[in-house]
């Protein structure tokens, strides 16, 4: 089901935006380098910036249409916005910030106040002044405030970029909860591969104001990893699987990916849980035969798909159990192993180097 249908032209600073894309349920990431026009695009959807022409339809309502001179003001659009810099009202308490849409915007939230507050872990900060909150808390209040405005669509403009690494990992689980429990479609702007990998169901790639590619997250990120000019350190893939066993003594969990099993470290996982793994290409090694006596716990049978040489390195695309894996090895290793497409190899994966996130199946 299409929730958002955008087809607009406009200006963002020095360049033209000419963008058409659609977004459905779940999280759609607008992904691309800084200054690609992603934030301006969000402003146009929210109604705080005006496109030159085109149309924006959200939840079946026309928000903007240059052909019929329709241009709803932001307050009539029913679109939530979480800004990079939280933008809490400094003269109001956390509680009054959270309820702003109710007392100032006359919106009736379908979600209970208490429910949103506990979802975001804000119970004991309600009477605090925004200036006394940490960066992470501020961003949580901003998210709660937007949710309580009962939006048909939630826009998030790099909500984690103003936070340090520790704060980011504090917020990410909340975003994951929102994504699965709030049931609101989210348009998420980011230039961080790791955020997109963890949160997005669909990725729309934006460069210089234009859509260059779009599709399911795993497919787009795998394609990106192979693309020339992308940052090889960020290249990686998304794998989805479910937990089969948990070893609480060693804090490890076994994940089934089709017929393959991989063992990873992590707490808080239970059998049956669906998880999403992000495996960076730099963390995958290749062997042409299984080896004993290694500290590396995962050796997965795979088939070589494609090899892209890049100076001293080679990016190897592998297929295992229907999913894609990227391995970044040296060109020299690639030659010594005589890797070629169609060859059967073993992908070696260290248990400690995989980012794992809980993923409840989306109710679609």
């Amino acid at each position: 089901m299409t929730v958002l249908d955008v087809d607009i032209r406009g200006r963002a600073g020095s360049f033209e935006i000419e963008t058409a894309f659609q977004a459905g349920a779940g999280v759609t990431a607008l992904f691309g380098p800084s200054g690609a026009g992603k934030s301006t695009l969000l402003k146009m959807i929210a109604g705080t910036a005006r496109p030159q022409s085109g149309r924006i339809i959200a939840g079946g309502r026309t928000l903007f249409n240059s052909a019929t001179s329709t241009n709803l003001p932001p307050e009539k659009r029913g679109i939530g916005f979480v800004f990079q810099d939280a933008r809490l009202f400094p003269h109001l308490s956390v509680r009054k910030n959270l309820t702003y849409a109710r007392w100032a915007g006359r919106r009736r939230a379908s979600r209970a106040f208490d429910e949103v507050v506990s979802l975001l872990g804000l119970d004991d900060r309600l009477d605090a002044a925004p200036t006394t909150l940490s960066g992470g808390e501020r961003q949580r209040v901003a998210i709660g405030r937007a949710l309580l405005a009962d939006p048909a669509l939630l826009l998030m403009d790099e909500p984690l970029s103003s936070l340090d690494k520790a704060r980011r990992s504090e917020i990410l689980p909340y975003l994951e909860t929102i994504r699965t429990e709030a049931g609101i479609p989210i348009l998420y702007v980011s230039h961080e591969t790791s955020e997109v990998a963890r949160l997005a169901d669909t990725v729309v790639l934006i460069e210089n104001g234009r859509v260059t590619d779009s599709g399911p997250t795993a497919a787009i990120l795998a394609r990106l990893g192979l693309a020339a000019g992308s940052d090889p350190a960020e290249a990686g893939v998304i794998l989805e699987g479910h937990v089969t066993n948990v070893d609480s003594a060693y804090h490890t969990a076994v994940i089934a990916l089709g017929d393959d099993r991989i063992e990873l470290t992590g707490n808080g996982f239970a059998p049956g849980m669906t998880v999403r793994l992000r495996v960076l290409a730099g963390d995958v090694a290749i062997a042409n035969a299984p080896h004993d006596g290694l500290s590396i716990r995962n050796q997965l049978a795979a088939t070589v798909d494609e090899i892209r040489r890049d100076g001293a390195y080679a990016m190897v695309a592998l297929t295992l159990g229907g999913q894609r894996l990227l391995a970044r090895i040296t060109a020299k290793s690639s030659d010594q192993l005589a890797l070629h497409p169609g060859e059967h190899v073993y992908a070696l994966l260290k248990a400690v180097s995989v980012e794992m996130a809980r993923l409840e199946p989306l109710s679609s």
Partner: protein
């Protein structure tokens, strides 16, 4: 404190309060225009607003006499439209005080509007607030410290205004003789020193009280809005 002193203080308070109350809304509007809008002639508006601060008060007073005197164009307009005359009346003293205090009102309000994060308004709009609601729930409360600072500064100026007032509406006991004018008049007479000193003490006390009250008010209002 004698009866004359009391009536002088009450008159001064009436003049200063009227001046500030009437000047506050136009001062906010001008401050908002200067802080938030770009328009042709902005620098001229800015110069006009600052003018009473740098012009000799006698000149401002004379200008008011020409414009708002009983034969002045604006004076006749007000007389015909609202039945308000300014010439040699306390209303004229209030007008002179308001004009002299105007730049002092505008400046802090303008600064507070400029310091405000414009993104807050955008955020409020996405939460369902109309422009008008944003003004009353975000812009105005956040500008409040600036408004209070301006009002106190302006009130002090209005209370002490001398040059423009005496030029425009003269020094009429019971009508236009405010605190400063009364002190001046007493100092002109050989036996007025003691009485002048009493008025001077009162002027100092009033100024101090105004400052303390504004501090208290500002703190109370910012705390109250948050609860």
């Amino acid at each position: 404190m004698g009866e004359t002193e009391l009536s002088i203080i009450l008159l001064s308070a009436k003049v200063a309060f009227t001046a500030i109350l009437c000047a506050l809304v136009p001062a906010f509007a001008v401050a908002w225009l200067l802080a938030r809008r770009e328009f042709a002639g902005k620098s001229i508006v800015q110069a006009l607003v600052t003018l009473p601060l740098v012009l000799p008060p006698v000149v401002t007073g004379y200008g008011l006499l020409i414009l708002f005197g009983s034969k002045g164009t604006l004076g006749q307009l007000f007389e015909n439209l609202f039945g308000i005359s300014f010439a040699f009346r306390w209303t004229g003293a209030a007008l002179a005080a308001g004009v002299m205090a105007f730049p002092l009102l505008v400046r802090p309000i303008r600064l507070s509007l400029e310091a405000m994060d414009r993104g807050l308004g955008e955020a409020a709009r996405t939460l369902g607030a109309s422009r008008l609601t944003v003004f009353f729930t975000v812009t105005l409360p956040l500008a409040l410290p600036g408004i209070i600072a301006g009002a106190v500064l302006g009130f002090a100026k209005a209370l002490g205004e001398f040059g423009a007032t005496i030029t425009f509406v003269s020094n009429i006991p019971g009508e236009t003789q405010t605190l400063s004018l009364a002190i001046y008049a007493l100092l002109q007479s050989p036996s007025g020193d003691a009485a002048a000193l009493r008025l001077i003490a009162i002027a100092v006390a009033l100024a101090l009280a105004a400052i303390v009250a504004s501090e208290y008010l500002a703190r109370k209002l910012t705390a109250g809005a948050r609860a």
